[in-house]
């Protein structure tokens, strides 16, 4: 269980006084983090336009404030930012002068470890993760996709964009309004492919692919083709893949034939000279693999995936194609009960290393996504040579800020019933930190009757939310179909949209209007301060706390400089707990488990691993234990607060033990590993200072070192070899309270 002091008190006290503070029983139920946004004395929820009287005004006895010591909060802040332990010099400097922390935060912010951790934070804060490749189904119209690097890149693009905006000294509001995203040529091609594939609201698929002469083809077919070696008997074999230049050349016989490095195969029943199937003694068909060289596709999505190394299962059958998949004609005299003997199997999706792709295609750079000017030619999705040199792409579907990336859409699929309402709501949650709710309703009366006609009934419990949502979500309907392709239905394109939320009203004619409405909203800066509060404390800050408001003002006054926000918040008592705040009075201090993102980053950085410890786990049991029992920072549909588990459970304890054991295996007595069991004293010293974060001048250092040394000796005495004894000692340090907690 998380140690949240005031929450524990609240739980017990509220039992005694429940009648006096009963909830209203209305639709305005408290959110999951009820204590974080509890109504003030006048019943208003902080930050929603009401006024609240500061609590702890001296009317009643105060719960004594317990300041957190610098020996605890300096390591907390450094671990949050870098995943590294604080040094004695750093702790001493803050003990001498608490304001010294601000300069440290400033310096830590620009380190690569901090940028990596911020990147992870942004990918969650902008809701770009928590998806699998199959969540792109609506956009690609293909299921059973393979795990191409593309899908990871799609999830990273927005966080890299945010980091780039910060590094360039631009206002953080650009993350909402920007048309320029960090992209690879692969991602650029993806955006183009999504634009050149068309799926309307009814699910009807078509294509609109630019040709060399500037025209748009709606009938172009595509192939994935293996071209055999010129000399099939040469050893070693010399591959002969179709070069991309031929694929792109309309005059070439290989136009729109994407290269495959190997033939495809089907398991076919063997036929005799009369065309009848040959059977074995058991009466089963005798089968053999039959190779073929190409698959034919009619969709842009399949062609795009083929370009990058995946021949989807959506290929067509063309009996006239001698290079296509084999077919079987069942002789007319085969009885019905024997026809199943003629069944054959061709693998569906086939992943391969694409000969057309180069190392250039995974290089990140800023790319502007814009709509075409009059008469401007579009770039076909397969034109990688052009994309490798381009810093902009031209598409017909608008892409603005975090809320229109393919990854955001993959998170929030919509349909004919939902009609982009969840897309809108999640965009609001990210942008202004608030979800649509029945109380903060808009003033519009324009409601569609949708599929669920009950929504437009004013007596329906759904009505007030839809009153707010429907005019706003029209901005998505204007631009996108339900599968997030370009909207061409005039009824939607020319529909009316307006922003009307929490007192802010403006008509919406485009995504740019929507983006501007978000960044001009009074809740925009506080939403991001609050997100960082959650990140740092695993709980909310009070939005009426004067210290919170000071940080919001500093962020706003700096023209939304995120570096300033981090400096002001992470050196604030809101995060350090070194001084009393309204947030402490209302919500107390939370000591949280180190969730997966934090714990993995800390071990990776402290053990100087070159790749993330948790992303590279090769042991299946450890992988499962970590993935399923060590909670990630996350987000939920409709939830304003991030999903942050703080509780210690036996399952978390078991998962951390598995991960620590795995890390021990990587770092002890391995070639060039950090620790050597023949130098166990040095290793244990490092365990204490580096893994546990207890500096040599810490009053606990000697005792802790002694306990670990005794553990090593006891392990050897029990029969363990020095390597295993040191591993066990490492696991102990790795599982120790200061290693697995945030804020201890």
């Amino acid at each position: 269980m998380a140690s949240t002091r005031v929450k524990i008190w609240a739980a017990s006290a509220l039992v005694a006084s429940s009648a006096a503070i009963a909830c209203s029983g209305s639709l305005d139920a408290l959110p999951p983090d009820a204590t974080a946004v509890a109504p003030g004395p006048d019943g208003q929820v902080p930050g929603l336009g009401g006024t609240t009287t500061p609590t702890g005004s001296g009317v009643t006895p105060q719960i004594p404030f317990e300041p957190v010591s610098a020996r605890v909060y300096v390591p907390k802040v450094k671990n949050l930012m870098l995943g590294l332990p604080a040094s004695e010099d750093e702790i001493s400097a803050v003990i001498q002068d608490p304001t010294a922390l601000k300069a440290m935060v400033d310096a830590w912010f620009v380190r690569p470890e901090a940028q990596a951790k911020l990147g992870t934070f942004f990918s969650k804060a902008f809701q770009q993760t928590q998806i699998s490749q199959n969540d792109f189904f609506d956009q690609l119209s293909l299921d059973n996709l393979t795990n191409l690097p593309l899908f990871t890149q799609a999830q990273e693009s927005m966080s890299r964009t945010a980091l780039k905006i910060i590094a360039d000294g631009k206002p953080f509001t650009d993350t909402v309004t920007t048309h320029t995203f960090m992209m690879t040529p692969t991602l650029m091609s993806f955006y183009l492919a999504l634009d050149q594939a068309q799926v309307d609201d009814a699910g009807k698929q078509s294509l609109s692919v630019p040709m060399a002469d500037g025209s748009l083809s709606t009938t172009q077919a595509f192939w994935v083709t293996f071209r055999p070696p010129v000399n099939p008997t040469a050893v070693p074999m010399v591959p002969n893949p179709i070069p991309l230049s031929e694929t792109m050349n309309p005059a070439s016989p290989n136009f729109m034939h994407f290269a495959a490095p190997a033939p495809f195969a089907c398991s076919m029943p063997q036929l005799d000279s009369t065309g009848h199937v040959m059977v074995d003694a058991a009466g089963k068909a005798i089968k053999a693999n039959v190779n073929y060289n190409q698959r034919k596709y009619t969709s842009v999505s399949s062609a795009f995936l083929a370009l990058f190394g995946f021949a989807s299962r959506a290929f067509g059958s063309d009996p006239a194609d001698p290079n296509g998949p084999p077919t079987i004609t069942i002789p007319a005299d085969v009885p019905a009960d024997k026809k199943n003997l003629y069944q054959f199997y061709c693998p569906s999706g086939v992943a391969f290393t694409s000969p057309s792709v180069s190392a250039q295609d995974v290089i990140w750079r800023p790319v502007t996504v814009r709509t075409p000017r009059d008469g401007e030619k579009l770039t076909p999705f397969y034109d990688l040579p052009t994309l490798r040199a381009a810093n902009e792409i031209v598409v017909r579907t608008p892409r603005v800020g975090y809320f229109s990336t393919p990854a955001f859409f993959a998170n929030w699929a919509t349909n004919v019933s939902n009609q982009h309402r969840d897309t809108l709501n999640q965009a609001l949650i990210v942008g202004v930190g608030r979800s649509i709710n029945p109380v903060d309703k808009g003033t519009a009366t324009v409601l569609d009757d949708g599929k669920d006609g009950q929504h437009s009934d004013p007596t329906s419990p759904c009505y007030s939310c839809h009153q707010t949502m429907d005019p706003m979500r029209n901005v998505f309907r204007q631009a996108y179909t339900y599968s997030y392709h370009a909207q061409h239905d005039p009824a939607q394109v020319f529909s009316t949209a307006s922003f009307d939320y929490l007192g802010e009203m403006t008509p919406l004619a485009s995504f740019d209007d929507f983006a501007n409405a978000l960044v001009k909203h009074p809740l925009y800066p506080s939403a991001w301060v609050q997100k960082l509060c959650y990140y740092a404390n695993s709980s909310a800050c009070s939005e009426t706390d004067p210290e919170f408001l000071r940080v919001v003002k500093a962020f706003t006054d700096s023209n939304y400089d995120f570096h300033t926000l981090v400096r002001e918040l992470f050196s604030s008592a809101l995060v350090t707990g070194q001084a009393a705040t309204q947030t402490w009075s209302e919500l107390g201090e939370t000591v949280s488990i180190a969730r997966q993102d934090h714990f993995c980053a800390a071990l990776t950085n402290r053990l100087k691993l070159t790749a993330s410890l948790c992303e590279g786990i090769t042991d299946k049991t450890t992988q499962t234990a970590v993935a399923n029992n060590m909670p990630l920072d996350g987000y939920l549909r409709g939830a304003e607060a991030p999903a942050l588990s703080t509780a210690q459970t036996p399952f978390y304890r078991g998962a951390t033990e598995s991960l620590c054991a795995y890390a021990a295996g990587l770092t002890i007595d391995k070639p060039q590993s950090l620790y050597d069991s023949t130098k166990k004293d040095a290793a244990i010293t490092d365990f204490v200072a580096n893994i546990m974060g207890i500096t040599s001048a810490d009053p606990n250092s000697a005792t802790v070192t002694q306990l670990l040394t005794e553990h090593f000796d006891a392990a050897v005495k029990a029969g363990a070899k020095p390597t295993d004894a040191l591993k066990s000692t490492f696991i102990t340090a790795c599982l120790s309270p200061t290693s697995v907690a945030i804020g201890l």
Partner: protein, 435 residues
């Protein structure tokens, strides 16, 4: 007069009433007990046959409501074609008679395959959740504010029942993929294979080393608690950390053999894991997810709905078999509560139905029966609380029927009317289906 705010009430309760809040913290006894031990004992849920709860939840909004008893044999006021059941050609969902509480009903075939002794303690409760939004499962579980202080129903039940069973933790365990909150904190979403991965202990020398590590960690905890932790929260964290280690070792000792039967994270394995967690006395409430259609906007002839309904009813049977094998058949209640039901009028897929859903409750605390029903349009009917029947002049309108589900389920798992009415501000329990 200016009303005191929440903070002031809290402070007054903690330090004003004989420091009862602090005493509760120190002793672990409920404040209600410290304030009035006699009264608290009178409300002890354990004396009324308290039950563990395995709750299936779905944010998909499943079509369980479309094939349940109470939606067949409808009067002529229902126009033809407005209530469509799943009834594929393979006859796996064909309308089939069954007996509940001694009365004949009709339902999709899978329900009729439950053994009669299970049907005799099965309730099908027709109600309305009032939402058609997938994202509002949390609000449904909060009964849209009818459950005080934003508590989530499974968490409220778990917290209330924990003293009866002295479970390892008060928090529910969620292994079905849906999110749950306990006292303002989201709970981790666990999986059957994840449980298996952490509950498989080492052997031989590795086990010896683990014991040594546990011992060293206890000493480290004690050292840091004495010399580093300066705040209540820091000390509490260290205490909880030590406790979680003890709990883990206890659990590992109990389940080694049964864990081997877990092979994946599907509903079948969720059922195994849920039964195991109860057997291990981990938590009073375990949540799983048994699908009865999923979000089936497109579902040709309701084939998928049929497959999932058959599989989930089979899993309910499997659960009952498992509980019987563990001797827990009279100590565990199974129930379902989904974000919403689905619409009746479509043919090849179903929309969201805010105004009708069905909750199934199976346990010793129940008599077989159907509560409520549907009215034309596919909405939940008003219920007469005395009989449980659909009645236009009844006293449980659809808007409070969700709270009635909660109160009836609460009664079935051993809570008293007084306890439930103290926390749930609307709705009525339906005594006619309580054993």
């Amino acid at each position: 007069m200016r009303l005191p705010n929440r903070r002031q009430l809290l402070q007054a309760s903690l330090v004003g009433a004989g420091l009862v809040g602090l005493r509760a913290m120190a002793t672990g006894l409920p404040v209600s007990f410290l304030l009035d031990p006699k009264s608290a004992r009178a409300q002890d849920p354990c004396s009324a046959g308290a039950q563990f709860l395995i709750l299936s939840m779905s944010a998909s909004g499943d079509a369980l409501n479309c094939n349940a008893p109470g939606t067949y044999d409808l009067p002529s006021t229902f126009a033809a074609g407005t209530v469509n059941h799943s009834d594929p050609a393979d006859m796996t969902m064909t309308a089939t008679p069954l007996t509940l509480g001694g009365k004949p009903w009709t339902a999709a075939k899978p329900w009729s395959t439950l053994p009669q002794n299970i049907l005799d303690r099965s309730v099908f409760f027709h109600h309305s959740t009032g939402t058609a939004n997938h994202g509002e499962l949390g609000r449904v579980l909060q009964l849209f504010g009818a459950l005080r202080r934003g508590q989530w129903l499974p968490s409220y039940f778990a917290k209330t029942l924990r003293p009866c069973f002295s479970t390892i933790q008060a928090q529910p365990v969620t292994i079905g993929g849906e999110q749950l909150s306990f006292e303002g904190q989201y709970l981790p979403k666990l999986t059957p294979t994840g449980l298996k991965a952490v509950l498989s202990g080492p052997k031989d020398l590795a086990a010896q080393l683990q014991t040594l590590r546990d011992d060293t960690l206890n000493k480290l905890n004690a050292t840091l608690k004495q010399n580093r932790a300066q705040t209540t929260a820091e000390r509490a964290y260290l205490d909880n950390m030590a406790l979680s280690q003890v709990d883990l070792r206890t659990m590992i000792g109990q389940v080694a053999a049964d864990l081997a039967t877990i092979t994946s994270d599907d509903a079948t394995n969720q059922v195994i894991a849920a039964a195991l967690l109860i057997k291990m006395n981990v938590a009073p409430v375990v949540t799983i997810h048994l699908p009865f259609s999923g979000d089936n906007h497109s579902d040709n002839s309701f084939n998928n709905e049929a497959l999932q309904t058959n599989a989930s009813v089979n899993n309910i049977k499997n659960l009952m078999t498992k509980l019987t094998a563990y001797g827990l058949q009279d100590k565990v209640t199974f129930a379902t509560l989904n974000v919403f039901g689905r619409t009746f009028a479509d043919l090849n897929g179903r929309g969201h139905n805010a105004s009708h859903a069905v909750s199934v409750m199976i346990g010793k605390g129940f008599k077989g029966g159907v509560v409520g029903g549907i009215v034309p349009g596919g909405h939940a009917a008003t219920i007469d609380s005395a009989t449980g029947q659909a009645l236009e002049s009844g006293d449980v309108p659809p808007i409070t029927s969700l709270a009635s589900v909660a109160k009836t389920l609460g009664r079935g798992i051993g809570l008293t009317d007084a306890q439930l009415s103290d926390q749930i501000t609307s709705g009525l329990a339906i005594p006619s289906v309580l054993a």
